[in-house]
Amino acid sequence: MAVINLKNRQIECKLVYYGPGRSGKTTNLEYIHKAFKKQVTGKMISIDTEGDRTLFFDFLPLGLGKIKGCDVKVQLYTVPGQVKYKATRQLVLKGVDGIIFVADSLAVRREKNMISLKDLHENLLKMGLSIRKIPLVLQYNKRDLESKGLPVMPVQKMEQELNRQLKVPSFTASALSGDGVGHTLNQALKLTLQSLQNEFKWAQ
């Protein structure tokens, strides 16, 4: 849940990168950390990994400066994607204001995307939240791998399988090079701040 201090005109909200293991959630954060230096207000913390897999979460604090008269701070988190870390995902999701679902475009990961989206839906339900109501953006990551000869799903197919019912904004991306990372984050922030405005009327 966002912390809103109307007296001091401050907002602090929490965005979580969700998605199957190895879909590129940590890579998104690493790129943001590298490319948005002005907005990054602290060091990126990756809490323990097994090889290069996230076991707990990654954390990156951002400061967006003044928006509509309010000082806006954002905490970005990733969840561990491996199925066995469901409890940790539930914990990291606590207090979430907006979600970026990072789907893997590789054809071989089709089912993993669907399982992870279902897992997100279930975890939100447990917290009394609806996947249809929470600010959510989809990112179809690893588009660059097509040029390396790996079979990648057409965007249209991914839209149909993951976004047919949700109808949320979606972006193609290659997090390693940074393509689409900023657009995805911008849209997620926009939706989240809009949602907080509807709820708390924070904007002047």
Partner: protein, 305 residues
């Protein structure tokens, strides 16, 4: 696409999947390549290629087994634990307004049991937080499969009447439910019916070598967190006894009966090994040349390596 091209394409895919950490997918591709190579004898260096593929398959299988193993929750660095406490203790109904309790609960939920127990133990001092702290301590021990120790701790609290009647009942109910979930046969309701107050040892007496000294971290008091090394004055199977000089008051106050020592190094004339032990007694010696010194007894519960 001819066979050669197909083999090259699949192999390249397998290598790319490996480099992206998609091991199951890589394994499938390596196996497809192996199948293609085996199906034809018209390939140069066929045996060499098959050998190479077999190595790749074995390596990938090994990595998958390692990753698919049981969930690991390693202890993380102190700054990471601070972040867990700070960021995940909010709005927790279990915290009942106490950020200290909420922080410790967050640590426990992230599997940082040692640090969480350390914090809950500190909170046992506060009357208004004692019950929640105690429940969480029991939960932490059971989550780590130290059921016997949880039972002994619960019994100790009951015996020392740490909780008023109503809270004791609440703790008993909670603990019974926890124990039910473990599915283990247990008897915790009445103190008289206890099979033992000490946790069981996994070891037989004759499994344990003669031990000359031990080293462990002091669990409480003025020397909490410091390592100490003590010489063994007497050993009977899994029970070892040490003498602590009366002049080392801080050391005496830093360990008590009921403490679980999770990281003991045992030194024997023929080997060094590590394990876990339970402090079964600490008594002041009241006669003889060592009068006024303390006798400390540890029961060895487990040998780890």
């Amino acid at each position: 696409m001819d066979l050669g091209e197909k083999i090259k394409k699949y192999y390249k895919e397998a290598e790319l999947y490996t480099s992206h950490g998609l091991l199951a997918e890589a394994l499938e591709k390596y196996k497809s390549v192996e199948g293609l190579v085996k199906s034809t004898s018209n390939i140069r260096n066929r045996q060499g290629i098959l050998k190479q593929l077999s190595i790749k398959i074995e390596e990938t299988n090994h990595k998958i087994l390692k990753l698919d193993g049981p969930k690991t929750t390693p202890e993380v660095a102190e700054d990471a634990q601070s972040l867990m406490k700070e960021m995940f203790s909010f709005d927790d109904p279990e915290a009942r307004g106490s950020s200290a309790l909420g922080g410790a609960i967050a640590l426990a939920k992230f599997g940082q049991y040692d640090k969480a127990i350390e914090e809950f133990n500190r909170l046992l001092e506060y009357e208004n937080l004692r019950l929640e702290a105690a429940k969480n301590i029991l939960w932490c021990w059971i989550e780590q499969n130290y059921t016997d120790y949880a039972v002994s701790l619960y019994q100790k609290w009951r015996k020392t009447k740490l909780f008023p009647q109503k809270e004791a009942e609440s703790l008993q109910k909670y603990f019974n439910e926890l124990m039910d979930k473990t599915g283990m046969d247990h008897e915790i309701d009445g103190l008289e019916s206890q099979r033992t107050v000490e946790p069981d040892s996994e070891l037989d007496d004759d499994e344990i070598l003669d031990i000359s000294s031990v080293r462990f971290i002091l669990p409480r008091g003025p020397k909490e967190g410091e390592r100490t090394e003590l010489e063994i004055s007497f050993q009977s199977g899994k029970y070892i006894r040490m003498i602590i000089s009366r002049r080392e008051k801080d050391l005496v106050d830093s360990i008590n009966p009921g403490d679980l020592l999770k990281d003991i190094v045992f030194y024997s004339p023929v080997a060094i090994f590590s394990g876990e032990g339970y402090v079964s007694s600490k008594n002041e010696i009241d006669a003889g040349p060592k009068k006024g010194d303390y006798s400390l007894e540890i029961k060895i519960i487990k040998i780890v390596s």
